[in-house]
Structure formats: structure tokens, C-alpha cells
Symmetry: C2
Subunit: 351 residues, 2 copies
DNA sequence: TTGAAAGCGATACCAC
DNA sequence: GTGGTATCGCTTTCAA
């Protein structure tokens, strides 16, 4: 069924016509075309057959009046807004940019709008944003929030929710990247290059994402019969560039030797690299570095960062499609509801 | 006047209560509290005095029913959605990230929602997105679109518009960064360091932003009695990293000598730096580089990029405040409607 | 194939 | 202070 969501304006004009800035309504169109409001609605929604003659009369009126349907009124009646909400943990985290781009783009194709909320690492703000989104009557939610909100039960929001890469309640679907695998990939690469021992810069182990990456590191060391040395790991509070920088300084202070370094996200890796360069280490000759995420600048960096890639665009697109299909009550097989994406090691210049 | 936009849920719960997933309405609350719907409305909006006793009865009912007002209905009635639209030219352009963050954050403070649209460099998409936003009845728009859409008259959208850094119609306000000044700053810095001649990598001179930066470059050369040499300038199509890279290759092919390079945006500068490094030029010893924008990674880069800063967070915040004040019909002096922000040269490691 | 009219869930005017 | 009710602009059932 074709649903006309947006009525074309003549000549690409996007303007109001009524002088007093009042909106043209469906009634105005009906009057002008000499038909009833319902008929206009039928024509515009394409939900009922209407005689060709009346149709064109109506289109005519729509054009000359430059009519644009009021989606608020439609929403009230149909109880659906054609809008999805997106909650990200932190917009500064470049990891979300391509995801957001993909969501916006996919939503656009399906004629959905996107309302954006940033939790800025705050659980309160997360809740408060969520409340607002729900009040706006969004049709569904893509959730990539703080991941540490215990009060939050995404299954009881009353709308479909797709979660990204966090396990804060299952929701009606989730896109999950195998972080253990990613940790293994990175570690294995460094082991095979003989760059031992491997230092680890990680981030809150309370968040499963990072716990898993770290677990992949440990598991792989074990697999190769290598010791796990706590002196080689630094745990940071937020996973930022500055913390990556400080982590290396800390490592250096500890006077432990290491030939390579695995950071559980790219920002940490970049910060670490700065510290290494300042101390005149050559990358990768002296110390190899592997990051995680493949944020947009990873490949642009000097030297280009070797990293574990999470296909961000794909994640965003799949999440949006899954969400919209759920909103539309399309039958979705159980297997499709939980999409697991396999990370990939992108070898560039730092390892 | 205090406007209660969001009703607190007890214990931080965000859940539906009616088993059949039906929404609780104001009428339900009224019935439960034994009052009329209008009284409930008065209490929740705080627009009329209501006896303390009835008030608490109503709050009581709101709590136990876990009522959340339907903003769609409110919007229909009040003809305002508490939502602002944001149109950016391209989300991949990291220049917009902090702006977006600021917009989101400021909107949050004022209890506004943000609907995000990405024109992805396409004028068609820009128009079509705009149409959709207007259909959604947004209260106002922050516009930082392609800047080349001739069909677009932002003054006739029927809602307040604040434009960012483009001159596509004045709108009801604009935040303008003095790009000529920025071009001067960069050029002057290089001249005074004696890094002559200065190559220029620029981007569509049809967009005033970039035309102005280039003009600042020419003007400054003139001021110092230096020749303007066309062989030293490369004009790119989109201002991307890859184009910056290719621009340097082009410059090298032309066999013109240059000791420094001014790129009209940071992405071009970063791409240029890559090409220089690949050709074994040392930055800044052999060739100095100055960018423009101060995108988030500029200071993180290796070497850290010297660049002309546009205070992105401030731009976003001011734009949002100006917009919301306009929406609320607050009196705004003519001078405040056009905010000019002075760029600043941030000297780091590349020049 | 078309039209009349009820109603979505708020707000706000006007009575009392 | 409180309540009845028309209204916002659309969709949709039912009847013609």
C-alpha cells in the first residue's frame, strides 16, 4: 500500500499561502474542490478508490492552495507518529556518528523522522529524555544509552525497542557485536606479530561491551599459554582520549616492559599514541597499537590506526530496519530479532 | 509561568499501566480524582489556581495511574510542538558534531526536542526533508544546509529560522562567523613565520563561507605586497579528506614551490598532511599547515593541527537560544538577531 | 463512489 | 474554584 506522506508542492515551493500565516487544512481543500473532507482524505491516503475526475479536482486544489497535511492531527487520530527516537550514550563518542548517519538515512527511506537524545553519560538524563520521548509518542526506540541504568526496563516502555551493543534489557530486538571475538582478534594479531607482552587499556568492566573485549584478551593469552599480568592493564573511567594518554604515562611509570598495546576503543588508542610519540617511541616499530571501533578518523590518522571494526553504518541500518518492521507488526522470526555482527580486524599502520 | 511538560513517575518507573497497552488519558485521571478534565488540565499546566485539596487528589490519581500527558494532542490544540528541527549539510562533517551536541543540550534545558535531518550534500534531499519537518509542525528550524539551494526562501517557511554560517536567506536570525577574518588570521600567521609562498586548498567558491576564507587569504597577501599565484591554489568539489590528499598531489605535480599550506577546512588539511607525510615532508619543518574549523580531532591529531577555530559549542548554543526566544515571541533587538562570532587562530604543532 | 459525523486527547472559553 | 463543552485537523465507520 502506498501511503502519501508528503504532498508535492508546485515548483518546489515550500511556503505558506494564507497571508495571516494560518495553515491550510484538509477542509479548505475539500471546499475548494467542492467535495467532502473524507473524500480528500481518501485521495491523499490512497486508501479508497476515488473517481479519476474527483481525484484530479482534489490534486488541483491541493496544488493551488499549497496544502501540506498536518501530521500532528493525523498522529492523534492514528495513534502513530512516524517518528523513532534514538538515545545515544554520548554524542562525542565518534562511534555513534556513522550509526546516526545510517539511522537517519534509513529512516528517511522509510519516511520516518528521527528524534535524537543524548544521555551524555548521565543516567538521570537518560531517564528524563526517555520520559520526554514517550510523551512525544514516538513509535519506537533505538537504544544505545549508558548501559548502566538499573531502573530501566526497556521491555515495559510500551513501544518496540531495539538495543545496540548493550544488554540493558532485551527489548524487541538487538544488534549485538561479538566483543569477545573482537578482543581475541586484536590480541591474536599482536601475539602472532611477536609483539609481547601486550599492555591493555580498558574501560569500565561493569559494561559488558568492555568486559567482553577484555575477556577476549585474557582468553587469547591463555590459549597461547601466555601469562596474564595485572601490571600491564590500566582501567580508565570513561574511555576518553585523555585517559588513554594518561594510561600510557601510568604504564611507563610502572616500568613494566611492553611491545604492544591493545586499547578497548579507538579514542583510548589515539590518546595512548600521543603519549608514546611524546616519549619518542616509534609506532609500530617500538610499540604496536591496536584500537577498537574503527571510528571515522581511525583510517585518517597518522599513522593510520589498526583496529577492530564494528561496521557502524550496517549496525545503524539493521537496527532501524528491524525497528520499523517491528513497528509495522511484520512477522519477524526469532532468529532475526537478535542480530549478531562479527567484528573484523582492520590492519593498517600501527600494528 | 511554569509549564509542566513532563509528569514525574513514581520511583522512576517508566512504564505503561493499562494491561491492554492503552494509554491513560486526562479523562481517566479526572474520573479517578472525581473532578472534571478541565480541572486536571489546570493543575498540570499550572495556569489556573486550584484548591490545594483538589490538587493533591489529582496528583494522587496521576501517580497511581502513572499518567503521562499526550503531547500530540496538546500540540494539535496549542499549535506548537515544542520541537525544533535541525538541518545539517552533512553529518560526516565533523564540524557539526559539537554544534549538534550544543543544540541538543540547550534544547534539553528549555524542554524542547530536536528532530535531526541530514541533507547529505543533496539539494533535493534538503527540500524533501524540509517538507517533512514542516509537516511535523516543528516550532522552529536551525538551518545549516547545503547553502546552495536557490529555490529555498527560508523567510517564507512560516516558522522562525536561525541560519548557521550560510547566507541562504536571512531567516529570523543568524549566527555568522567572520570568515574573511579567519582567512586573514591564517594567512598572516604563515607570512609572519616566513613560510612563503603559501599554497591554498579551497572548496566551492560558490558558497560564501569558503569564498570569504579565500578572500581573506588574497587580501592579506595584498596587504603584505605579496603576489597571488593561481598555480598555488587548488579548488576541490566537496572539501573532503581525500580531496585534500589529492590536492597536495596536484600541487606537487605542478612543481610549484611552497613552504606552507592553508586549507579552508580541517578535513582538507588532514588529507593534505597525509600526502605530505607520504612524500616525506616534515610538518612543520618543511611545510607548515593551517586548517580551519577546529573540529574535535584537530587537537588530537599527530601532529596537532594549527587551525582557525570556530567555537562550535557556542555557535550551537547561541543559535538554539535565539531560536527558542524567537519562538516564544520574546522581544529581540535587531542587533541580537545577527550574532557575529570572531574566529580565533589556535596555534598548535603544524604551523 | 461519496458524504456525514464521531472521535483521537488535550486546552480554554464561558458559565456558574 | 470548578465544570461543561467546543475545538484543533485529521481518519474512518457507516449510510446513502
Amino acid at each position: 500500500m502506498v501511503r502519501v506522506t508528503s504532498i508535492g508542492f508546485p515548483n518546489g515551493r515550500i511556503e505558506t499561502t494564507k497571508a495571516n500565516n494560518e495553515m491550510i487544512t484538509l477542509k479548505d481543500v475539500a471546499k475548494r474542490a467542492g467535495v467532502s473532507p473524507s473524500t480528500v482524505s481518501y485521495v491523499l491516503s490512497g486508501k479508497k478508490k476515488v473517481k479519476e475526475e474527483t481525484r484530479s479536482k482534489i490534486y488541483e486544489a491541493v496544488k493551488t492552495l499549497n496544502y501540506s497535511p498536518n501530521k500532528v492531527a493525523r498522529s492523534l487520530k492514528t495513534n502513530s507518529t512516524n517518528t523513532i527516537g534514538v538515545m545515544v550514550n554520548n554524542l562525542s563518542d565518534m562511534f555513534f556518528i556513522d550509526i546516526l548517519k545510517a539511522i537517519e538515512s534509513t529512516a528517511y527511506e522509510y519516511k520516518y523522522n528521527v528524534i535524537l537524545c543524548d544521555a551524555v553519560n548521565s543516567e538521570e538524563r537518560e531517564i528524563s529524555n526517555l520520559r520526554s520521548l514517550l510523551g512525544q509518542r514516538i513509535d519506537g526506540l533505538i537504544f544505545a544509552g549508558t548501559g548502566k541504568n538499573k531502573k530501566l526496563n526497556l521491555d515495559r516502555l510500551g513501544i518496540p525497542v531495539v538495543t545496540l551493543d548493550r544488554s540493558a534489557g532485551s527489548g524487541s530486538g538487538s544488534i549485538y557485536v561479538d566483543n569477545v571475538k573482537g578482543g581475541e582478534l586484536a590480541t591474536e594479531h599482536l601475539i602472532q606479530a611477536g609483539k609481547l607482552p601486550i599492555a591493555l587499556i580498558t574501560y569500565s568492566t561493569l559494561i559488558s561491551t568492555f568486559f567482553d573485549r577484555m575477556y577476549g584478551y585474557r582468553k587469547t593469552l591463555e590459549k597461547y599459554g601466555l601469562p596474564y599480568n595485572e601490571d600491564l592493564v590500566v582501567v580508565t573511567d570513561f574511555g576518553t582520549y585523555n585517559e588513554g594518554y594518561n594510561a600510557v604515562r601510568e604504564l611507563l611509570k610502572r616500568k613494566v616492559e611492553f611491545q604492544s598495546l591493545f586499547a578497548v576503543n579507538d579514542m583510548l588508542a589515539l590518546g595512548a599514541m600521543r603519549a608514546l610519540v611524546e616519549e619518542h617511541y616509534k609506532i609500530p616499530e617500538d610499540i604496536s597499537v591496536v584500537g577498537y571501533d574503527d571510528i571515522p578518523i581511525a583510517k585518517l590518522f597518522l599513522p593510520a590506526l589498526t583496529t577492530v571494526s564494528q561496521p557502524q553504518y550496517q549496525i545503524g541500518r539493521k537496527a532501524t530496519e528491524l525497528l520499523i518492521r517491528t513497528i509495522n507488526k511484520e512477522p519477524i522470526e526469532e532468529a532475526e530479532k537478535s542480530i549478531v555482527i562479527t567484528p573484523e580486524l582492520i590492519v593498517r599502520e600501527t600494528a
